[in-house]
């Protein structure tokens, strides 16, 4: 049998293929249409060219009809829409992630109330000596040592340039004790030491003692535009501290904007302006713009003016040199924490981790949405087909529709909530009781349109059973619209879940859902620092809705055969 199809044999394709073949092998130099081929040229020709042309019926069939496939075209059309494909990917990633999330390491239980640790503190030091200290458990596993009743376990994290840090504790009288610091074997980069509750002021120093979280000095800076004065005990100069501080005096570093000249520093004590005196500042060697001076420790209100007195610092700085910050055990739950490295989306007002609540809620909402959509699809399609196809049932269904459509769904929901415990099941049942009728009516209208078309008439005349007419003739025509309704039913169900939470009929707090997360966040709206509790669920909810909406729309466009090219 020839390897060339009849179509190729009929069209010029065959000839040109041969021409190419011959030219490639150097047999042919001129035009194939020249009839005067030499002997060896003839010998080089493909034998198939001269074989019997056998007609294969199935092959002929294939070339005679288009190779149109409905689903193939639908998918191809869908993938032409780049926005929809992008949304589909986002949607799939989101759905997938909600199911993966609980199995990732270091996830909190969504309902776990996180308490500040009552025995330990975590002390994180940055390279410039700034630090944060709180009771959020940042290390993994159990404590390296169990602190005694009058001790606090302090975990210390320093930048790697600090080496093994040294820790000093001070009591209220300012007596210094060095603490034994050891590295935590289970957590790289963390060190721990035991702190007595009698001496709870903690300072950390680097291994070479050049960097510390606490110095016997203050650094004053003046910003250029508003002349605001900032006071800090974080070391800002590079050189070592001036060590010949006179007794009863404290060291102050001052940095002023370029136009100020040598800043004038006036100090005053608790008595106010009557005790005011100027102190002399000297430029700091090797550091541009920095000056240092000594002020009497008891007079700690500093007022800065420029050299000629024309510029004045906006605010007074209270420079206190006392003890390092007291390390305190914070009691209670970790409430309303902004998003941080431990709680990625922050915590809510009872200390639950919003990140895991978020995904657990998304999971719940998606589950509700999908189940409701599936029930609506099955019941709605069945009822809609009966409603449209069986004329005797039309009156019954129409009255039922009027009924269900006019009874406020809230009443049905309230009753469902009384009969059953509030929960996912109740919400799904309550939504499905009323939801299917909308799709049923939609299907019914479609059936009415298609039912009496000629091809159905023909089927009926041929005696095709009704079931077969419905499943073979009617249903495939409605695939695109039904799919669209399904895609929209999922965000719709999520939306009504939000509404239910709003009116107080939603899921209990122990079952996080997008509805009760948004609702909870809404109550935090008035505090600007807590708005993240509203933003995060609202954004996720919007992303889900937009994705389903756009993908559903694009798919229904693609599934419409009118759009197939």
């Amino acid at each position: 049998m020839s390897k060339y199809s009849p179509k190729e044999r009929i069209t010029g394709k065959l000839v040109s293929a041969q021409e190419e073949f011959l030219k490639k092998h150097g047999i042919l130099t001129g035009d194939l249409m020249d009839d005067n081929l030499s002997e060896e040229q003839i010998a080089g020709l493909d034998k198939d060219l001269f074989g019997l042309a056998i007609v294969d019926e199935s092959e002929a069939e294939r070339t005679g009809y288009s190779n149109y496939s409905y689903w193939g075209s639908t998918v191809r059309m869908f993938f032409k829409n780049k926005v929809a494909v992008f949304n589909l990917i986002v949607m799939l990633a989101l759905v997938l992630f909600t199911f993966i999330q609980p199995h990732l390491p270091n996830q909190f239980d969504p309902n776990l109330v996180n308490y500040y640790d009552s025995k330990a503190v975590w002390f994180q030091v940055e390279d410039d000596g700034g630090y944060t200290v709180d009771g959020m458990k940042r290390t993994k596993g159990d404590y390296a040592v169990q602190p005694a009743a009058d001790e606090i376990l302090a975990y210390i994290q320093t930048p790697s340039s600090w080496g093994t840090p040294e820790a000093f504790a001070y009591n209220e009288e300012g007596e210094e004790t060095q603490l034994a610091v050891s590295a935590d074997p289970a957590n790289r980069g963390w060190f721990y030491c035991l702190l007595s509750k009698d001496a709870p002021h903690l300072a950390v120093m680097s291994e070479d003692r050049t960097k510390s979280t606490f110095y016997d000095a203050v650094w004053l800076t003046v910003t250029g535009d508003k002349n605001a004065v900032y006071c800090s005990s974080v070391k800002q100069t590079k050189s070592e501290l001036i060590d010949n501080v006179p007794a009863g005096k404290s060291l102050v570093y001052v940095s002023a904007p370029a136009g100020w000249g040598t800043p004038q520093v006036k100090v005053q004590g608790a008595l106010g302006a009557s005790s005011a005196e100027f102190i002399k500042v000297k430029p700091l060697e090797g550091e541009d713009g920095w000056y240092y001076g000594f002020f009497p420790t008891e007079k700690n209100t500093l007022i800065l003016t420029s050299e000629d007195g024309s510029q004045k610092g906006m605010n007074r700085a209270t420079a206190t040199i006392g003890l390092p910050e007291e390390v305190r055990i914070v009691k209670g739950f970790i409430e309303n924490k902004q998003p941080n490295s431990l709680f990625w989306f922050g915590t809510n007002d009872i200390g639950q981790d919003l990140w895991s609540r978020m995904w657990s809620g998304t999971r719940t909402s998606l589950f509700i949405g999908m189940v409701v959509a599936a029930i609506e699809a099955v019941v709605g399609i069945l009822a809609g087909l009966l409603w449209g196809y069986v004329r005797k049932l039309d009156f019954l269904f129409t009255e039922l529709y009027n009924l269900i459509d006019n009874i406020p769904s809230t009443i049905i929901l309230m009753l469902a909530a009384y009969v059953m415990r509030p929960g996912i099941k109740t919400i799904i049942i309550a939504m499905s009781i009323t939801g299917w009728i909308g799709l049923a009516r939609f299907i019914r209208n479609q059936v009415l349109i298609i039912r009496d078309r000629d091809f159905n008439l023909a089927s009926r005349c041929l005696g095709t059973p009704t079931r077969r007419v419905i499943t073979r003739n009617l249903l495939p025509q409605m695939v695109s619209v039904v799919m669209l309704r399904m895609a929209l039913a999922i965000p719709g169900a999520i939306g009504s879940e939000v509404f239910l939470a709003y009116i107080g009929l939603g899921l209990p707090i122990a079952t996080p859902s997008l509805g009760n997360l948004v609702n909870k966040g809404r109550t935090m709206m008035m505090a600007p620092t807590l708005r993240y509790q509203l933003f995060i669920p609202a954004i996720i909810l919007s992303i889900i809705t937009i994705c389903f909406y756009l993908v559903g729309n694009a798919f229904s466009d693609a599934a419409d055969p009118k759009n197939h090219v």
């Binding site: 006019n406 609702n519 909406y549």
Partner: protein, 314 residues
């Protein structure tokens, strides 16, 4: 036509009867404790019996139902039980309906004025940037939870423009934000459907014919496409207008508008049965009347549609 109206009227009465009866019976399934106030445990049995008798709850359900219909036939909706004890329901609802309908009607006018031209513009420039911009706007409005963006409108608009934050019936300037909030979702809705219907019409043969005849683009759009696309929109307008009396739960609670929004939910939760029955009766009637008026309006706008034909085209 007259016969058709009569038939529809009869069917409407029947539906109303079934709905009310059903609601009445469903409400009787609610737990008894809900009617007695917060201190149920401390009440003696005599007090409970007396309280139930005062509300007529001691009689069997059919008798209660009969009494209800007898009063209804006299035009008496009854008195509220719990929401505002022993106040005529009509008295409670009347000022609330006025406020909700006023705001709702203005919001609807706004959304029609903005939404229809928006949809028409999008359809005319299909695939170009006004269409894409409009689609983005519509998708955002439909996707973002309205409870959330209403809050943002209230917060940032009052900060930015100095408009009052709460509704005040005597100061029309405080109506602006609630009206805009009410209008936004329906602007998106009208815009979306207007665009879809117009695009559907633009692919029809008669439009091609009109173009082939040399009718200008503007005339094709206004006289042919727009008019035909507007017909399905018309059907929903009366019912949306009538349903404005239901108010909006979100908007009214954010701006403390003393309207109807949330009233039904509130009285259901408080088991104020007479109020629930009255409200369901009103809303169901409004729904049925709205559907009917929509059908009539559709006939007026499109003479080709006949309601009395063999199959009602909906």
């Amino acid at each position: 036509m007259g016969k058709y109206v009569l038939k529809r009227f009869g069917a409407a009465l029947l539906s109303l009867f079934i709905i009310i009866t059903l609601i009445f019976c469903l409400l009787r399934l609610m737990p008894i404790e809900g009617y007695l106030g917060p201190n149920v445990d401390k009440l003696s049995e005599e007090v409970i019996a007396a309280k139930l008798a005062a509300k007529g709850l001691d009689k069997p359900v059919p008798v209660q139902l009969f009494n209800f219909y007898r009063n209804l036939a006299r035009g008496d909706l009854g008195k509220s039980w719990i929401y505002r004890e022993n106040v005529d329901i009509v008295k409670i609802i009347k000022p609330k309906i006025k406020i909700s309908a006023k705001l709702g009607a203005m919001a609807m006018a706004l959304s029609l004025i903005v939404g229809i031209p928006l949809g028409a513009t999008m359809a005319r420039s299909k695939g170009k940037w006004p269409d894409k911009l409009g689609t983005g706007f519509i998708v955002f409005l439909q996707a973002a939870p309205s409870a959330v963006y209403f809050l943002f409108i209230q917060m940032y608009a009052t900060k930015g423009t100095g408009l009052p934050m709460l509704y005040n019936d005597s100061k029309p300037i405080s109506w602006i934000l609630p009206i805009i909030s009410l209008a936004l979702p329906s602007i998106a809705n009208y815009g979306m459907w207007m665009r879809r219907y117009m695009v559907d019409q633009m692919n029809q043969d008669y439009v091609k014919l009109a173009r082939a005849k040399g009718v200008s683009n503007k005339a094709v759009m206004m006289k042919h496409v727009f008019r035909n696309a507007f017909v399905p929109m018309v059907q929903t307008i009366p019912s949306s207008l009538l349903f404005t009396i239901m108010g909006s739960l979100y908007v009214e609670s954010i701006y403390s508008v003393p309207g109807m929004g949330g009233l039904l939910i509130d009285v259901i939760q408080r088991q104020d049965n007479t109020m629930v029955q009255a409200l369901v009766l009103i809303f169901a009637s409004v729904g049925i009347i709205g559907l009917f008026l929509g059908d009539i309006l559709m006939v007026l706008v499109d003479p080709r549609i006949s309601l009395t034909g063999k199959e009602e085209s909906r």
